[in-house]
Symmetry: C2
Subunit: 388 residues, 2 copies
């Protein structure tokens, strides 16, 4: 995780996830292997009673950022506006109004909480455009990832490419990226390095998505833990880190504080991904206690599975045999047990706890005053669902 503190992330090359070259032709259509980004996770997040402070922060972020987002989307040319408003859940595909459903605003909430933590209410108020820009970048990547991954459903609705076609979904994503960077470029209260940092983050997100698709084409035995962790950091951690860092920039934070905020968000993103992957195999104990199964049914190389493969145990060898026979759903309980026997569950839970601890260390470095750090801590607990 040494890279997570460096400033020039685009110089970093992700470790190859496996021995394969990255130049193969595209992935087979229809594979339902996409990781769930934060805010769209399986169980809908913690109930209000479990994380009241975070829920209040998320609702407040939504209320502050939505008007900025709606104004920005409203400025787009007609067809692109229509696709964007559909994707955000604000319009039906025929242009009639729809009821919300545009996600939990975790990334905007992190921008605003980081600005508030280091700069108080004034910095928070000044960071609304930046928070909207981060949310636009997130949604640009969702539009494109859904095209690439052939995912047909997002936020309980048909994905944009299934409704408007691949070309228009790609163009709408391109448009949202440009809109995000325009919002920062036109900010009347700019934090000058914020635009470059957000552009850097986009470059890292693309590298992460590339690594994810490359990884799914690898044989399981070829996937390395370093490779899959680096992919998860680029794909999930980078934008959470950038959200926190950009919030810090809007509060006039020092380089060291910004670096610590970035590392906090990255560790939080990795902790989220580890826990989400555990729930994807064994279910959420607080909810059902039963395996969810979809990740294993798709033979997804999630973090616990890769750890199990890498364990060198007899169970790892058995798992390789099971993963080589796709589509046999009746084996799911047995595969889950095999991943557990190979140590995949313990590793993932231990890693998640470790990442949480590192996130809290970075938070203490960035925001030593515990009261000021409360908002960011509540959001960390929310995304990792360790709220009770």
């Amino acid at each position: 995780m040494g890279e997570s503190l460096t400033e020039s992330r685009t110089e970093t090359t992700l470790p190859a996830p496996c021995g394969q070259r990255g130049t193969e032709s595209g992935k087979t259509a229809g594979a339902p292997e996409r990781r769930g980004p934060i805010g769209t996770q399986r169980d809908g997040g913690a109930a209000p009673a479990e994380g009241h402070e975070a829920v209040v922060l998320l609702e407040r972020a939504r209320a502050e950022v939505d008007p900025v987002l709606r104004a920005a989307l409203g400025s787009l040319p007609g067809p692109m506006r229509r696709i964007a408003l559909y994707h955000f859940g604000w319009e039906q595909s025929d242009g009639s109004p729809a009821e919300g459903g545009s996600g939990k605003a975790i990334r905007p909430a992190l921008v605003l909480a980081a600005a508030a933590a280091l700069g108080g209410p004034e910095a928070r108020a000044g960071a609304a455009r930046a928070a909207a820009a981060v949310e636009l970048v997130h949604n640009f990547t969702l539009l494109h990832d859904d095209v690439m991954d052939r995912d047909a459903t997002r936020r309980h609705r048909p994905t944009a490419w299934t409704v408007f076609g691949d070309a228009d979904a790609i163009l709408a994503g391109d448009t949202l990226q440009a809109l995000a960077l325009r919002l920062l470029a036109q900010d009347p209260h700019p934090a000058s390095p914020a635009a470059a940092r957000l552009a850097d983050c986009v470059i890292e997100l693309c590298a992460g998505q590339h690594a994810d698709t490359a990884l799914e084409r690898c044989a399981p035995a070829e996937v390395t833990l370093d490779g899959v962790l680096a992919m998860a950091e680029a794909k999930t951690g980078a934008l959470l880190g950038s959200a926190c860092a950009i919030g810090g920039l809007y509060a006039g934070a020092s380089d060291e504080e910004v670096a610590a905020l970035d590392a906090f968000g990255r560790e939080a993103g990795l902790a989220f991904q580890l826990i989400d992957d555990v729930i994807g195999i064994w279910g959420d104990p607080s909810r059902t206690g039963k395996p969810v199964g979809a990740d294993l049914a798709a033979r997804k190389k999630s973090l616990p599975v890769v750890a199990a493969f890498a364990s060198g145990t007899p169970a790892a060898a058995e798992l390789a045999g099971l993963y080589a026979r796709p589509g046999e759903k009746e084996d799911l309980d047995h595969i889950a047990l095999t991943v557990e026997r190979a140590g995949g569950r313990d590793w993932a839970q231990g890693q998640a706890a470790d990442r949480m601890a590192r996130a809290m260390q970075q938070l203490a470095r960035a925001v030593p005053d515990p009261e000021a750090a409360g908002g960011l801590l509540a959001l960390l607990e929310f995304v990792t669902r360790r709220t009770s």
Copy 2:
């Protein structure tokens, strides 16, 4: 063309190219209908003897901008860097070096010529990053357009998506857009409105590409001249206008000068497109005098064809019958003659001359000193090939 002078182009909604809604599913794969962007046109542009000043300007732009581009691309994560270097013609698909072929640098040359026209050599030197950013935006749109249009060849090589797959070509395009905006955001000599203007331009380019694909799905009789001209302005004129405007911004130009430079580039882009479409049907008289044919064989709704359809003449009705029978290549000479009899050729040549005249008027407004305007004028003549 009133819109071409306005500042807030993203507020402008393109006229629907036909009565159709924009929500249909994607275009059929394989249709070879893509318009040739400037720099990749059919006949390779004017020979040096015909436009010596422009050739010198283009070579100089290439020499000044290539090092900036190579450094920017070199900073990308490995897989994205490899795709970008392949697309630019600087590497083979296996990563070994390749010989150039990255286009004629018309857009960077316009940035630098506009900066020089209004700010002299110092402004020109300071605009190299902006020129590279404009070239990156152009190449991001090429990568994505090739995916959407299923174009298999670009600059005499297989397109990136045919080599690396759709997903990686989309990601490489996303990366180049971010890199362009990062270059401007990190410019040590920034012209502050330049980044917002470039982002605005991307939004317009996407709307133009959307209109182009929507137009190709329309029945010919439904396509309007206003619609197809607006599409050509958004798809071809916008980036040429932005290149000139951004060059002006780097020279500290006034709002009025910047608006005139933008209008100059837009008119030049439309003149180019009109002439390119004429050559696409009747060939370049200075070269062969024979029809090229590919546009008609693909039943492309190019500007002369749409003008012919809109003429209300008996020849227009005959043309509708001919366009309704795709694939009969033996009719090409007859179709070309029918477009001509319906007035499509005269209209396009008259429009092109009109756009050239308007471009020169705008240039005189932006740069009253003829000597200072010489570079931009030479580039206008080059792109419209009226160099003798």
